[in-house]
Structure formats: structure tokens, C-alpha cells
């Protein structure tokens, strides 16, 4: 990460992360994120050409559940909605979204 992130880049990453930042936050984060990215960029100097990437560490494979209904974990409508800031007739209510 040479030269650091511009405010525009910080905004763009924030949008992708579903975050809206204030201009104060952008000002604070830009140098911090740049420093962290510069630090982690060291990785790219390590020779890893033929190395297999690790996604999981304990070597398990083929872990499934049987196709059975598990009522014990199901929530009532009331419990499902219990923590929602806004509901309507059994639905979660959100601000109107455009498009579909």
C-alpha cells in the first residue's frame, strides 16, 4: 500500500462494507488503515507460489445433517420478532428498498 488511502478510497471501501462514515471518521481512519495495510503488505514478499492455501485447520470433510425437521430450535413468530426495532403484522419492517 504505497502512498496511503485517499478519502475517496476510504469512502468506497466503507460503502462496500455497508458503512457510512462521517468526514471526521474518514480523516481519522485514512492514515490508520494505510499504516495497517502497509504492515500487512509485507506478506506479498514471502515466496508462496506452490503453497496450498489453508481455509480450515482441523482437516474435517463431509460433515452433514440428515434432512429432518428440528422443531426444538424453531422460534415462535413472537420470539423471532422480539428484538426487532420495527415490525408490522408479523413482518420485520424496514425503510423502503428500491428495485428488486
Amino acid at each position: 500500500m504505497k502512498g496511503g488511502l485517499t478519502p475517496d478510497q476510504v469512502h468506497k471501501i466503507a460503502r462496500l462494507a455497508n458503512l457510512i462514515l462521517t468526514s471526521e471518521e474518514v480523516e481519522k481512519f485514512a492514515p490508520q488503515l494505510s499504516a495497517i495495510l502497509e504492515f500487512v503488505s509485507k506478506l506479498q514478499k514471502i515466496p508462496t507460489k506452490d503453497v496450498i492455501p489453508t481455509s480450515q485447520v482441523n482437516g474435517l470433510e463431509n460433515v452433514y445433517r440428515e434432512d429432518e425437521i428440528d422443531k426444538s430450535r424453531m422460534l415462535t413468530q413472537e420470539d423471532a420478532l422480539a428484538n426487532a426495532p420495527a415490525t408490522h403484522n408479523g413482518f420485520f419492517k424496514v425503510k423502503a428498498v428500491f428495485g428488486e
Binding site: 506478506l43 508462496t48 503453497v51 492455501p53 489453508t54 482441523n58 428484538n83
Partner: protein, 481 residues
């Protein structure tokens, strides 16, 4: 009964001998909560006192943890008990289900006193990143508690419970254990179910606990560990309880990695020389007990830290996507600064055009780090290392420089990348501040680590040194904002 000295094993013995009851122990814990919670900022939610006493009165003493008070890190989902993850964005969230570990603890008779403060989401190693303010160190309240499982550690040290649960993604159990003179287990990845525990970085998160002694620690693991059909990454490996018969370490080989120690110093120029002396003494004690000390190489320790700070934020950016204020909690601007920083780093590392350079390279270096450990364990039974490069810093010392805090994780994060087990043990003091060491073992080696830890603990008995609480540390002015 001195709650500051009382272990789980002693409490169970006390119940059996009818010296005292669960009601006595719970009441004493609640008294300490009343005395210290406000000042040390340990518990975010405390259960109703009457309810707790009632529960203590009706304890079934045939159960393995009957009447043993516990505090849970606030990442553990608890049915009908507020669960915040240390984050304001869900400060009103009341789960409608129990994490598997919570269910197991309840079924084994443990009594949940409350939910412990922590770095929000587990993001941090000092305990200062909690959206509810930092937890203070039990041994010196001007210093950090260690994190992220900060409240869980301090609650045990301050007699609010007999053990605390935690999560360890990069040192979050071992840090507060080291800073508060406790035994902390970072189990093998997949040993304990993650179901119901708020995820930080799913491929590194492990679920452990802090206790006063090694014996207590092994007892709790025997309850929490095992295959869970609700967590596809748990393993069927059997969990035996350590027998603790050996009083020496004859025939065991313990590895020390010069890179590991050197890199710690390099990464953190302030590495305390006194701490170095403490850890050297600890190593000599292990040798005195009969262990052979062998040099091992862990050449990828330096890249491990950079890898950690690519892979972990990537998984964080994914795992925190669900906090959108639709089904629970508030909208996303409510996230704290550290969570936002990590989500941004992770989003960047996974985004189109940067994935190969950051995320994929990180995964490859993770392979190299794992291989280091696999090779090392071909010649030794365990590896010895410090936990932190220095004893607990003062609150506020690092608050303006997130990268400096990241660097202090150098001794803990490679273990999580490799998915192996580590046991943090009390190893002495610098002034009034505790110092911890860790024994790292291969996957599924918890029993072996407990055996070594037990022999070391019997020899050193550091756990007996209690925090000197009553008025000995007048609050100093400090830089915490």
C-alpha cells in the same frame, strides 16, 4: 471460606463436606460484584440476586459443576439474558436461545452470575476496546485487564465467580489470564462448540475459559468440550480428564524458539527486560522439574502477525454483516471505531483486485505457519513462550495507535492460525503486575498441557498470590479517553 483463594475443586469438596453451601458462595460472589464492579467495570449484566439465591438453594449437588458460579464473556448467547458482545450496536439484544456451551454449563449445575465486559466483538488484547469502557486490572486498576475476555479474567481474580468463559481468536483468553494471574486455556480449534457464540473470525475462534488452577481448568473443559451436531467444525476427538499424577516432567521435551523470542523484541521494542527475566526463570523451573529444553524453529512467526491481520479482519467483515438493525440492534453507524477499522481492512482484502494479494496470500502463509508447528512438534512435546511482550500496560497508553496494539499479539496469534492448543499459566510478577507464560501443544494435546502445567503449578504456586485490592492503588490520572 476465602473466595479469593477458593478453587472449583475446593468448593465442590466444601459442598460435599457440608462446610458451606452454594448459597454461601453465590452470596460472597455477589458481595464482590457490589464492591468492585463499578470501579473495575467487569460485568455488563448481572442477574437478579433473588433469582440467583433461589437457584443456589435448589442446586442438585450430584452434578459435576453443581453450585459453581461462573461469568460468561458477553459473546456467549444466553436465552433471555442480554448479550451485547461488548458492543453498543446490540446493547438491547436479548437472545432467544442458549449457546451449546451455555446449555452444557447450565446442565452441569453451574450458576451464571452475569455477562462479562470485553473488547467489543473480541477485537482487542487489552480490554480497552469495549464500547462500555475498559475493564481494569485486578492487580492494579490503573492498568489494562488484558483482552478481549477482560471481564471474565478480572471477575475470577476479584472473587465474583469461580471461573469465567472466554473466546480466543488471537490471544483473548491467554492475555487476561496472564495479566490477572490466572490459568487460561485456548483449546484446539474444533474442541469446543462455537454454536451460539458471536463469531469474530470463524476459522480461528476457539472457546475456552479462565480459572485459578490447572485442575479447575481441566474440569471445566471436560464439561464444555466435544462434538456438537450444531457446529460442523467440532471434532469427535475424545476428551479425557487429566489425571495429574505426575509431579515431575522427566522424559518430556519442551521447545523454545529463538525467533519467537527475538521477533517479539523486534516487533515491540519496549519488550520488558524484567519480563524476559521472569520467563527465563520459568523455563529454568521446567528444566528443574526434569524437562529437556530443546531449540525449535518457527521461521514464519514474523509473517504470522501480518497474516493474522489480513485473515481475521476479512472474516470479521463478513461476520459483522448481519448487524443491520433489521432483526435486532441498531443501525451500522453505531459500530465502534475498532470494529469499523477491521471491517474496512477486511473488505479491502477481499475486494475484487486485492483478493489474491491479500486474502489468498494470507491463506498460503497460514499454511507455512501451520507447517512450522507441525515440524516443531515432531521433536518436542510442547513449546514454551511468553504470552505478552510486557506486563499489563497502563490504560490509555496505546489508544491512539491501533497498529502498536496489534504488534503486542505476536506471541499469541500464530497459535490460532495453526489451530493448535495453548495453556496460559501464571509465572510470577513484576512489581504488582502478574506475568504469564504459555505452553503450546499440538492439536488435541490439552491433556498433556494440563499435566505439564500442573507439575509447574505445584512447584511455583503463583496462583496463591491474591490481588491487593483494598485501597492500595489510588487512582492515578491517565490518558484514557
Amino acid at each position: 471460606m476465602d473466595i479469593f483463594a477458593l478453587t472449583i475443586e475446593q468448593a465442590l469438596e466444601g459442598y460435599r463436606a457440608k462446610k458451606f453451601t452454594a448459597v454461601d458462595v453465590v452470596k460472597t460472589c455477589l458481595e464482590n460484584v457490589r464492591k468492585y464492579n463499578k470501579e473495575y467495570n467487569v460485568l455488563l449484566t448481572v442477574r437478579d440476586e433473588d433469582e440467583l439465591i433461589k437457584e443456589a438453594k435448589s442446586v442438585d449437588y450430584s452434578k459435576p459443576l453443581a453450585g459453581i458460579p461462573v461469568v460468561l464473556k458477553d459473546l456467549f448467547s444466553t436465552n433471555l439474558l442480554r448479550t451485547t458482545g461488548g458492543a453498543k450496536i446490540i446493547d438491547t439484544y436479548v437472545p432467544r436461545y442458549d449457546a451449546t456451551v451455555v446449555r452444557k454449563l447450565k446442565e452441569s449445575g453451574a450458576i451464571i452470575i452475569g455477562k462479562a465486559n470485553e473488547d467489543a466483538w473480541g477485537h482487542g488484547s487489552s480490554g480497552e476496546n469495549s464500547d462500555f469502557g475498559p475493564t481494569r486490572n485486578a492487580y492494579n486498576k490503573n492498568h489494562v485487564a488484558g483482552g478481549s475476555s477482560s471481564g471474565s479474567g478480572v471477575a475470577v481474580a476479584l472473587g465474583m465467580c469461580l471461573f469465567g468463559t472466554g473466546t480466543d481468536t488471537g490471544g483473548s483468553i491467554r492475555m487476561p489470564a496472564a495479566y490477572n494471574n490466572l490459568v487460561g486455556l485456548k483449546p484446539t480449534y474444533g474442541r469446543v462448540s462455537r454454536y451460539g457464540i458471536l463469531a469474530m473470525a470463524s476459522s480461528l475462534d476457539t472457546i475456552g475459559h479462565v480459572t485459578k488452577t490447572v485442575g479447575d481448568n481441566a474440569l471445566v473443559l471436560s464439561i464444555t468440550a466435544g462434538k456438537d451436531p450444531l457446529d460442523a467444525t467440532t471434532d469427535t476427538q475424545p476428551v479425557a480428564r487429566a489425571s495429574f499424577k505426575r509431579s515431575d516432567l522427566k522424559g518430556l521435551k519442551i521447545g523454545v524458539s529463538p525467533e519467537y523470542l527475538a521477533i517479539g523484541k523486534q516487533a515491540t521494542p519496549g519488550m520488558d527486560e524484567k519480563l524476559e527475566a521472569v520467563t527465563e526463570t520459568a523455563l529454568k523451573e521446567l528444566e528443574k522439574l526434569g524437562a529437556t529444553i530443546v531449540t525449535v524453529n518457527l521461521p514464519n512467526t514474523q509473517p504470522a502477525l501480518a497474516t493474522y491481520y489480513v485473515l481475521v479482519p476479512s472474516e470479521i467483515s463478513s461476520n459483522l454483516g448481519r448487524y443491520d438493525g433489521v432483526r435486532f440492534g441498531h443501525t451500522r453507524e453505531t459500530f465502534g471505531g475498532e470494529a469499523k477499522r477491521r471491517m474496512m481492512i477486511g473488505t479491502y482484502a477481499l475486494s475484487s483486485g486485492y483478493y489474491d494479494a491479500y486474502y489468498k496470500t494470507g491463506q498460503k502463509v497460514r499454511t507455512l505457519v501451520r507447517t512450522d508447528f507441525t515440524k516443531a512438534f515432531e521433536s518436542v512435546d510442547a513449546i514454551f513462550a511468553p504470552v505478552s511482550p510486557y506486563p499489563a500496560p497502563k490504560i490509555g497508553d496505546f489508544s491512539q495507535d491501533p497498529l502498536a496494539v496489534y504488534l503486542s499479539d505476536i506471541y499469541t496469534v500464530p497459535i490460532n492460525l495453526a489451530g493448535v492448543a495453548a495453556l496460559g499459566l501464571p509465572a510470577g510478577f513484576i512489581g504488582d503486575l502478574p506475568v504469564g507464560i504459555q505452553l503450546i501443544g499440538p492439536q488435541w494435546s490439552e491433556e498433556r498441557l494440563y499435566e505439564i502445567g500442573f507439575a509447574y503449578e505445584q512447584e511455583t504456586q503463583w496462583y496463591k498470590r491474591k490481588p491487593n485490592i483494598e485501597g492500595s492503588h489510588p487512582s492515578e490520572a491517565h490518558g484514557y479517553i
